[in-house]
Symmetry: D2
Subunit: 283 residues, 4 copies
Amino acid sequence: MKTTILINCPDQPGIVCAVTGFIHSNGGNIIYLDQHVDKQADVFFMRLESDFDTSKFSLSAFKIEFEKALSQPYQMKWRLYSDEVRPKMALFVSKYNHCLYDLLTRYKSGELKVNIPFIVSNHPDLSYIADQFGIPFHHIIVTKETKAAAEQEQLALLKRYNIDFVVLARYMQIISSNFIKHYPNKIINIHHSFLPAFAGAKPYHAAFERGVKIIGATSHYVTEDLDAGPIIEQDVTTVTHAHSIKDFITKGRDLEKIVLSRAVRLHVEGKTMVYNNKTVIFT
Amino acid sequence: MKTTILINCPDQPGIVCAVTGFIHSNGGNIIYLDQHVDKQADVFFMRLESDFDTSKFSLSAFKIEFEKALSQPYQMKWRLYSDEVRPKMALFVSKYNHCLYDLLTRYKSGELKVNIPFIVSNHPDLSYIADQFGIPFHHIIVTKETKAAAEQEQLALLKRYNIDFVVLARYMQIISSNFIKHYPNKIINIHHSFLPAFAGAKPYHAAFERGVKIIGATSHYVTEDLDAGPIIEQDVTTVTHAHSIKDFITKGRDLEKIVLSRAVRLHVEGKTMVYNNKTVIFT
Amino acid sequence: MKTTILINCPDQPGIVCAVTGFIHSNGGNIIYLDQHVDKQADVFFMRLESDFDTSKFSLSAFKIEFEKALSQPYQMKWRLYSDEVRPKMALFVSKYNHCLYDLLTRYKSGELKVNIPFIVSNHPDLSYIADQFGIPFHHIIVTKETKAAAEQEQLALLKRYNIDFVVLARYMQIISSNFIKHYPNKIINIHHSFLPAFAGAKPYHAAFERGVKIIGATSHYVTEDLDAGPIIEQDVTTVTHAHSIKDFITKGRDLEKIVLSRAVRLHVEGKTMVYNNKTVIFT
Amino acid sequence: MKTTILINCPDQPGIVCAVTGFIHSNGGNIIYLDQHVDKQADVFFMRLESDFDTSKFSLSAFKIEFEKALSQPYQMKWRLYSDEVRPKMALFVSKYNHCLYDLLTRYKSGELKVNIPFIVSNHPDLSYIADQFGIPFHHIIVTKETKAAAEQEQLALLKRYNIDFVVLARYMQIISSNFIKHYPNKIINIHHSFLPAFAGAKPYHAAFERGVKIIGATSHYVTEDLDAGPIIEQDVTTVTHAHSIKDFITKGRDLEKIVLSRAVRLHVEGKTMVYNNKTVIFT
């Protein structure tokens, strides 16, 4: 069985030695180890992939022992993933189809190792794609008046299906603080600019107006501050004076879908940790 | 003789035909033609390189004729460059040497076809580089109190040497509106961020704080609004959580020098036009 | 009506003037003009988008006139596209689905302005995607023995549907010279390397073996020489020692689909010209 | 004192634990750890930066102990760098100045932490740069007839100054096997193409001829096979049909100097390991 352990704790000498020794003495073989020290915050981060012989290994016993032998003495926050469990992902969309299509084709191909119990949208437009891929589609209308109720309905869905994380695949609505509190660092958004430039609405128009020579896309965890959450992934492409706003949008679509899919993959593979509104991305 | 003509005028049918016909009938051979229409502003832009047989060609007569036959009827703004004249460029620096070195080595190699009569700095630190390349170095101290007088001294130097344009090669001072008025769209700055993100002071620190995954550099014409002038050139490079602010600065230096040198080259080769605080860059 | 004219002819003074004058005098307004001179081959290339008032304009008369007034005197090769006609594109695939999905989702979204009468494959695996998008799927088995017959069957299909061009979306078969002759510069392939490096089979394995730090993808027109046709589009991404061949393949898929889709779009929009086994790409 | 240890050895469970435990028990604090397992070759690689309290630490005793406790039992090949010693670097050049200038300006700025006792060239052209930076310049003519003698003279210089590694900064001569044997994986070259494409002479001409849309530069360790040594660093830039060979060369210069300088820096900072003609690059 392959397990991935993510750790962060106050930095001190000897952590790597203690953790690798623990894995070793529990019969595990370390396949991958990466660590990082945030020197400003004095925090230690580690990602460790290990292989255990399933016949001799009890995951639940291991967890109890890890908690006692390492987590408590070193004040660790830690998570453990096993490759035998697929996380459950909910997709929120509006009218744009490119990110949805890109995620679903990766899912269908087996590249994205998740389960997708349903798609939620505030518009009915993309239900045909849900049909193409045989995934339930919930059309939940969101207006100023119905927003609170709509979010309750969305949350109920997420709970009912034990959703692990939410992907906003060009879902054109602002998520309330209340909603975010239920899924801290578990809602992934794609913003169609090179953040922090052009946060908020109509970033391609703003980029065109400013006359930039490069446009970008940014995927981040959603926090209460609009477009200001921890950045997971960014990418850019060049533009010139000859490109219209429409060209920006067309070129940007390819960025958006690639950047969002990369971010989702990093999240699913347990390669992201959040600290002080920033991410550590293990690759 | 090779000439480069840059034109902008209100858009209307027939301009390309009129201009190319004029060149043709004056014995010129068109080597390169690029044009652009800004559909929002309804403005036509063109860049034209032509070759004339010097034995049969009078540049001054050509200019008078162009003005009468084309410029007036089409309400053109136009500039003409000849490859026989090198523009005069002044360099302003403070303490960082990488952009200065990069420009001077290109100048020395003949890649940058300008004359550099002098270097101005508010600090004495880089005078050794001026010595290495045999270029006069003027140390003009700038403090809050002496700023106005210092700018007068700088302007006097620029006038005395008939300087065509100014390059701020990491010159860490804000240029006054009065100074800019003397050199509209003729002062090129390098800002060490992907503008409009992180305008103002300490952009690498701000980028680090925000946790971006890509950093950039932007070269632009200086206008009264700080770091908000027409963008000539931008480029970016990736960073990770493992990079410190010091790493950002080191990686950024390579961006800054390359982006500034590209922008200066575009300006020198008559490939930039400014309109509505944006640039048209012919390549 | 918007028309796009592509021209190449021996270079001589006055061509731009003659063509733009002709458009102008036929009531057309030039929206976009780009030209290029291959100085080694002494060949002139031009792409011209013009707008004509349909009520006063006869396309067939225009073509006859263009042939007489311009094409013959200047020895032009030229093509004319009208935005009222969608080209017919055939898709050839094998077992990989990413390029097929990417093209079909762009087609479905209206980004790719073509008609796709059918998909051909030598394997049945991707018929489910054809079903998802409601496009006829022809499974034509290709073995060493049946190859000639299979190509006859493919060609018959292409003829029956008046196919304009063919896209090999990771179709893992070599196309015969005979087949290519029917569609010169009309068969677009995607090769999963940065050509000319790693032509032929298993380029990711070869790239891994060589220890490169960057991998790429190349879209090109198919010619008799394997992977040596005129290059339309290339792109690259970085890799490290930590990436396995499997990682190369995963990262490469995103390159392949983006590069192929860009190349197809350039072809569809009449932005590609081929000369001396190279392309002129107007953007 | 900061030390950097580079290790490779046959892979087996427990290495990370053993090494980090050893550092820990010798009073060291691990600042940075990165490891990699080449699963095909079954080889383990590690780079470890540690901080030791100089007052309680003997480097020579540590080395003896490391050899006994770790290197022998695990069959390690290992190197140890201390930040108190600057490596000695020799520069070989011919007539192109851009890479030489770029390296020397980084050296002068303190970015490149080496000593440069001399520059060798087969042409006198760049002696003015050696003068600008106050570095001895040895003009050693290389002809077919004098090559063996010239290399003896070069080797004698290298020995006399205890040179640690050699940088070929566009030195346009092929290095003999005999010479390479004295400095295995210690001679860094820059090749002006995206290897393995366009190995050998005149790569920009070959790239132009082939009509590629991207050109590159590659820095590698020199081995007996021309342009086929372990790749340290690569980068690329886009080109179009409008670029002449001269444009390729100009654009390429910026690539070459940046790529070579990055590679030299990686080497100097002990971030490169070579195995099976490939590099592991720790960053």
